[in-house]
């Protein structure tokens, strides 16, 4: 089986004139199979968001390349769609218009675009809120719109950039189970970036652990927990063991980050 997404020896160095260059990523190598759910966890500053932007085509790698189905990624394309953190919705557009945004940019006529959008509005539990504006929705609802917008363009790979980071703990747990349901329904390939270890373990088939500054792949762990999963799983010893193991791998770096930001 060939990989759907292949990240091949990617380095990223940010160099700005007059400032010291920052090495964000070094020698990143991994691949994702069709239909797989993979998460990347790492301390802040491990360059995981940068990597996601390189995969999406928003940033260019300094060295190496990303391939989707053996085609080199050079710019954003319809085979990938990104779910951003909070507040990337257009505030002057309604829910349905926001969900259809990717389609209208691709010049899809409104009757078709809105029909497709309606399907994903329903799938993400937003039915009844089609003509609301983002500022009238809660944080959790806004992220549903964000997910629906990405799904609406029918990408092969869904890229999620800490999509639930700004939500409160309870809403986050609900959104995790919703995301699993949507994933099972749509059978997309998913790459999720998160700093929440339990989120990564709960959702994924595989977790890739990044080390910080520069970001490198420290370890890949297969999550062999049975599916479908529900929140009960988070209390099983297997789950807790996996979370603990990953935490130990990145603990030192997280602590370093905490003292650095405090100092």
């Amino acid at each position: 089986m060939t990989a759907l997404l292949r990240v091949d020896n990617v380095d990223k160095i940010f160099s700005r004139r007059g400032k010291t260059a920052v090495e964000a990523l070094r020698g990143i190598n991994f691949s994702i199979e069709e239909g797989e759910f993979v998460s990347i966890v790492g301390a802040s500053g491990s360059g995981k968001s940068t990597l996601l932007r390189i995969i999406d085509g928003l940033l260019e790698p300094t060295k190496g390349a990303v391939f989707v189905d053996d085609a080199r990624v050079e710019k954003p394309g319809r085979d990938r769609a990104m779910v951003f953190q909070q507040d990337s919705l257009l505030p002057w557009k309604t829910v349905i218009e926001n969900v259809a945004y990717g389609l209208t940019l691709a010049k899809s006529p409104w009757p078709q675009a809105s029909k497709v959008a309606e399907r994903f509005v329903a799938m993400t539990g937003l039915a009844g809120f089609e003509s609301h504006y983002p500022h009238q929705l809660s944080g959790g609802m806004r992220q549903r719109v964000n997910v629906a917008r990405a799904l609406a363009v029918d990408p092969r790979i869904l890229l999620l950039d800490e999509p639930f980071a700004a939500l409160d703990a309870q809403t986050r747990e609900i959104m995790q189970t919703e995301l699993l349901k949507i994933w099972q329904e749509s059978r997309k390939t998913v790459l999720l970036i998160t700093h929440q270890i339990d989120e990564a373990v709960f959702l994924s088939d595989r977790v890739i652990i990044f080390s910080a500054r520069p970001g490198t792949v420290r370890e890949e762990i297969k999550i062999d927990l049975p599916r479908p999963r529900d929140l009960e799983l988070k209390r099983t010893p297997e789950f807790v063991g996996l979370v603990d193991h990953i935490w130990k791998l990145i603990e030192a770096e997280v602590r370093l980050g905490v003292t650095a930001s405090e100092g």
């Binding site: 085509g57 990104m82 990337s88 505030p91």
Partner: protein
């Protein structure tokens, strides 16, 4: 009394209209009372006299003649300055070089009290429409330029990134993100421009015209007809208020998410 207060504090259209009426009545009553004690009619005339003078101006047609002269000049010049202001703002926002080289010149021009150049404009362009038009243009264009550029530059980075992620072209990013984001900024600049345009037109008419509100105010004050002066000032105030209220409403309509 309590129920009346509660009603007036409501957030409805009727309540806010009543609040405006109430404060206007208070001002008028206060004015009338003060003018009972200040009896020198050169210094202060009671509101009733102003109303009479204004009514007289309507009857003899002067108000209409002056309104035509002032409104045609100020509205046409205002519209042109909004258009020019947006175009210059767009140009400045799209080119860093242009913004860096042209910006200082514009802010220097903006800080010169252009009103003071009114006599010069009259000397160059003669009495009448042309000098009014240019003076209003010069004072009204800057707020639009500044807010257009600022609004276009303020566009949210995450919104632009999301658009890029969905493969938006440069033009699509402009039409679907940058410009809608800047629109309420531009309208707030337009609101300031309208207020400035009214000042500009009055000053222009002081210096060089044979008709218009500014001309009428000047000639009335030269004959010490304070009631007529205040009558025209009242009309100008109403024009300013209507503009300000409607542009503020437009701003709210374009950016409802900023209210909450």
């Amino acid at each position: 009394m309590r129920p009346i207060f509660d009603f007036l504090e409501q957030d409805t259209r009727l309540a806010s209209l009543l609040r405006v009426l109430l404060s206007a009545i208070c001002v008028l009553v206060l004015w009338q009372v003060v003018s009972l004690f200040v009896t020198n009619r050169l210094l202060l005339v009671p509101p009733a006299d102003v109303a009479v003078a204004l009514f007289h101006e309507i009857q003899n047609g002067d108000l209409w003649t002056n309104a035509v002269a002032t409104v045609t000049a100020v509205v046409s010049s205002f519209l042109v300055s909004v258009a020019i202001g947006i175009v210059i703002g767009l140009a400045l926002a799209s080119s860093r070089l242009l913004s860096l080289t042209g910006g200082p010149v514009l802010s220097a021009l903006n800080s010169v009290p252009i009103i003071a150049l009114a006599p010069l404009f009259v000397a160059w362009l003669g009495l009448g429409f042309a000098s009014k038009f240019v003076l209003v243009l010069m004072v009204a264009v800057f707020p639009v330029v500044v807010t257009t550029e600022a609004g276009l530059r303020a566009a949210d980075k995450p919104l632009i990134e999301a658009a890029r992620s969905f493969n938006a072209t440069k033009l699509q990013i402009f039409t679907t993100v940058t410009f809608p984001y800047a629109l309420p900024f531009i309208v707030s600049g337009v609101r300031v421009a309208w207020a400035r345009a009214l000042v500009g037109i009055v000053v222009a008419e002081f210096f060089g015209s044979f008709a218009g509100f500014g001309f009428a105010i000047l000639s009335a004050s030269q004959t010490f007809d304070t009631a007529r002066v205040l009558g025209y000032v009242f009309v100008l105030g109403a024009m300013g208020l209507i503009g300000s209220v409607s542009f503020a409403a437009l701003e709210r309509h374009l950016a409802p998410w900023r209210q909450e």
